[in-house]
């Protein structure tokens, strides 16, 4: 089935998470995405989280984080510090529709690869810069990692247990968030180009992109000069609402009671006519006032329930609830499975692996599924530089010799030693609780081995 972005070529200079999530969606929608890394500065996610916590002889090819973000893309490895490298990049861009980059703003200007220069190469190019703080303003040259940008956008000040300090989400939350927004921005720019022939420049600040998430709190401040309190898992619009302990090891369910009818349904489903009869709980205001007591009562019921069984029981009664899933449970969840949330890729050096979707939309006419495995380092040097640019085999050999292009990383020590150094301390993590478990037979549990 044809996909909507077939025929669109994206030159992808992004790294790590936000930019690669943006271009992963474009790839899943059918675009040809050509990643670029530098021989002297690989994407740092090639150093993170290796298959079976062991990079073996090829740690840069066994990096699971890199694989998930970049599955389906092509890749060249070109040194932009050398003029021939920049020249080849400009030649690819002359034949591309979109350029995506995520450097701090000064880098592209220093390479003369900013929009003003690139539109001379390709007048209708669409260029998107995904940066921490945007292309201008006093913080524009700040260095930025995803784990700092969720707090910088205001989200962390409204996240936390009641009475506790602000807390980050357990991942770099605004990275994928701004990657998604960026993919939509590119689609909007492509739409405009289709109508007018005009390209343009998109400046996406990850900090700004996430500010609308605190839009209601901003309005409260504008209207009442009031700052929000951290409310844990509660809600201003539902009571009771929370996360409750179930039977089993570290097993939880969320429950949200939005109306009096929901409350009646909940009491009936849990067999507690006594709660339904208690006038203190008969109104939203009453349930809010007695939320602490309700939490104790509800836990008294949930603690003996299996989280999935309680979820189905409550939902069948029309009550909003869901099990809290860990990584393994999400992979095995029947609903996610039936709807294809995880695709199988056959990844060189890793075998068959499940990788998560990046776009949640299900289309009638095509599937926004991953286009294939992630590229190995410089896998498409010959195809792109030889094929698309028509560079001769002789020159490619010469470029390899000069390390303008490569398929081998420059390592200070043998690869096996690098792999050893990059292993995470999983024994200590199991002991202190950073890891809940390590299943040796996980591929079998996931149905990927007989």
């Amino acid at each position: 089935m044809p996909k909507p972005l077939e025929g669109i070529r994206v030159m992808d200079l992004t790294q790590v998470f936000a930019g690669p999530a943006c271009t992963r969606i474009l790839s899943d929608l059918g675009a040809e995405v050509i990643r670029m890394e530098s021989p002297n500065r690989l994407d740092i996610t090639r150093n993170l989280l290796h298959t079976d916590n062991d990079g073996q002889e090829v740690p840069w090819e066994r990096a699971l984080y890199f694989t998930i973000r970049n599955a389906g893309k092509k890749e060249i490895v070109v040194d932009l510090a050398q003029e021939r490298g920049r020249e080849m990049l400009r030649e690819i861009i002359a034949q591309s529709d979109v350029v995506a980059e995520s450097f701090t703003p000064r880098v592209m200007r220093a390479f003369e690869l900013d929009y003003e220069h690139l539109k001379q190469v390709k007048p209708d190019i669409i260029m998107i810069s995904l940066s921490g703080y945007g292309q201008d303003g006093p913080y524009s040259d700040w260095s930025a990692y995803g784990m700092g940008l969720e707090p910088a956008s205001g989200v962390s000040q409204v996240t936390g247990y009641q009475g506790g300090p602000p807390i980050r989400s357990g991942l770099s939350f605004t990275d994928p968030y701004s990657g998604f927004i960026g993919a939509g921005a590119v689609l909007a720019a492509l739409h405009h180009r289709r109508r007018t022939g005009q390209g343009q420049y998109i400046d996406l600040s990850e900090q700004e992109a996430a500010v609308p998430l605190v839009g209601a709190a901003l309005m409260d401040y504008a209207m009442n000069q009031r700052l929000p309190e951290r409310i844990g898992d509660r809600s201003p619009w539902a009571a009771p609402q929370g996360c409750y302990r179930c039977s089993g090891d570290d097993s939880w369910i969320v429950i949200s009671i939005e109306s009096d009818d929901d409350w009646a349904a909940f009491c009936s489903a849990t067999g507690h006519s006594d709660w339904a009869a208690d006038v203190r709980f008969s109104t939203f205001e009453g349930r809010r006032e007695h939320h602490d007591e309700l939490d104790k009562l509800i836990t008294g019921w949930t603690k003996d329930q299996d989280h999935y069984k309680a979820f189905h029981l409550l939902q069948k009664a029309g009550v909003i609830a869901a099990p809290v899933l860990n990584g393994k449970q999400a992979l095995l969840d029947p609903h996610f499975k039936e709807r294809g949330q995880y695709d199988v890729v056959d990844q060189p050096h890793n075998g068959k692996r499940l990788v998560g979707r990046h776009l949640a939309a299900k289309f009638d006419e095509f599937e926004a599924a991953v286009a294939g495995p992630a590229p190995t380092l410089g896998q498409h040097n010959t195809e792109i530089l030889g094929g698309l640019l028509g560079i001769s085999d002789e020159e490619l050999a010469q470029l390899t010799e000069q390390r303008v292009i490569t398929t081998e990383p420059a390592l200070p020590v043998p690869a096996a030693i690098v792999s050893q150094a990059l292993k995470l301390p999983y024994e200590a993590f199991l002991e202190n609780g950073t890891l809940q478990a390590l299943d040796p037979d996980y591929q079998k549990q996931l149905g990927l081995e007989p």
Binding site: P4, F17, L29, L49, D52, L64, T67, Y133, Y139, S140, W142, Y145, A152, S156, G160, I167, R168, G170, F173, D175, Y177, F180, I181, L187, A188, I202, L204, V211, P212, L213, G215, A216, Y221, M223, N224, R226, L227, P228, G232, G242, C243, A322, V324, L325, N326, G327, A330, D333, H335, F336, E338, R357, L359, F363, D364, E365, P425, N432, T434, L438
Partner: protein
């Protein structure tokens, strides 16, 4: 005035609440004509606060005003024949229908994609619902919290000895709104090539799951089940929110902050030791080994916290950034509104409204050089009835 990138598109918006309205807000802010069809008593988000002085008023809900910028409002009873007939008339001239009640409910109103596709083969219908339009949970109810619960993010957020914590606000609503917007735009691109509309099915649960950084990945590639540990990343310490003298900062030394064996030149001092004004720290095993820092993190805290207690947030972040370490601030909404960087970028917008008057709104999530997003005020209830030939009791 510059045209918006989507100004040739017309959207019929049957959504209420947060997720669907955020999707159609993104269309409106990029210039599309969004016709918001509200029930006679309005989108239910008009009843949710914040309100000025906490006094409920359908035209003064901060949440509604934020989520419905630039749209037109039309009040219709979708249960009535005249209401359905008018929506169908609007759809004949529309590119995209967005709904948040699900196709089961739409079918009851004769407005499911299967009802419409015969007469309107070019129409794109987008559903944004808690669990999607297929699969075992399709008719289940949900909200942002249920989506965050199933996303793996919540399981990994919070303290190891407490319950999992959701991210503040209702983030899954916004993520699903973005995915619905992307899905609609992808279907518009498909239609441009293949001349055919289609149905696009977006769920809150899967949208939130798409933000999973590596929780499912760690199981799929390692058999490791990650568990919340103060919301910390597994691959380094410290890179977290920490308290300082006057508030909080995000403490992130980054790839080059601590001494790097074999890479840091003899005689140089690491940025972390410069920050803490003590060059001898470079000899400390905790500074020399990332593994040691992850395992002995309490000792790292004991080393760092007394220094942080003496410094103000702005002072630390500015100095760390001068040393090229990616430290970050932890602003409140007040800090954001007063921030010099966001002010220099003219991020916030002051918008007047006939009932709610002038307020500061979050700006557009990105800039476009040729078709800048524009944020215009939200409509009053039924403000555009006359334009579309409807009356409140239609």
């Amino acid at each position: 005035m510059a045209e918006g990138s989507l100004s040739d598109l017309r959207i019929v918006d049957l959504t209420q609440g947060i997720a669907g309205p955020y999707c159609t807000k993104l269309f409106a802010d990029l210039g599309a004509e969004v016709i918001k069809v509200e029930p006679p008593d309005g989108d239910w988000s008009r009843t949710l606060g914040p309100f000025p002085s906490d006094e409920p008023h359908p035209e003064k809900s901060g949440l509604f005003l934020h989520l419905n910028t630039g749209k037109k409002s039309l009040t219709l009873d979708l249960e009535s024949d005249t209401g359905q007939a008018l929506v169908k008339k609007l759809l004949a001239e529309a590119d995209v229908l967005v709904e948040s009640d699900g196709q089961t409910r739409m079918a009851e109103l004769g407005l499911a994609h299967d009802d419409l596709r015969g007469g309107l083969p070019n129409l794109i219908s987008v559903s944004v619902t808690p669990f999607g339009c297929s699969g075992p949970y399709k008719d289940y109810r949900g909200n942002s919290l249920t989506a965050m619960a199933m996303s793996t993010i919540m399981y990994n957020t919070g303290h190891p000895d407490r319950e999992p914590l959701t991210t503040g606000g209702t983030p899954a609503d916004y993520i699903a709104g973005i995915h619905a917007w992307i899905g609609a735009l992808a279907a518009v691109a498909y239609r441009a090539e293949h001349g055919k509309g289609q149905h696009v099915d977006v769920s809150l649960a899967e949208s939130a799951a798409c933000t999973d950084e590596y929780n499912a990945g760690m199981y799929a590639f390692q058999g490791a089940i990650r568990r919340r540990f103060y919301s910390r990343h597994v691959f380094g310490y410290p890179m977290d929110i920490m308290a300082c003298k006057d508030g909080y900062i995000v403490f992130i030394p980054g790839a080059g902050g601590f001494p790097q064996r074999g890479l840091t030149q003899e005689g140089t001092v690491s940025p972390m030791s410069l920050l803490m004004e003590n060059p001898e720290l470079d000899q400390n095993p905790l500074f020399q080994s990332g593994q040691e820092r992850m395992i002995r993190w309490r000792e790292v805290d004991e080393l760092i916290q007394p220094f942080l207690d003496t410094k103000e947030a702005k002072e630390i972040v500015d100095f760390a950034q001068a040393l090229r370490m990616p430290f970050a601030p932890v602003p409140t909404v007040k800090d954001l509104v007063e921030d010099e960087h966001l002010a220099a970028r003219s991020f916030f917008e002051t918008i007047d409204h006939p009932e709610a008057s002038k307020l500061t709104y979050a700006g557009a999530p990105f800039r476009m050089s040729e078709t800048p997003p524009m944020i215009n005020r939200a409509p009053t209830l039924g403000e555009h009835n006359e334009e579309f030939g409807a009356s409140a009791d239609a």
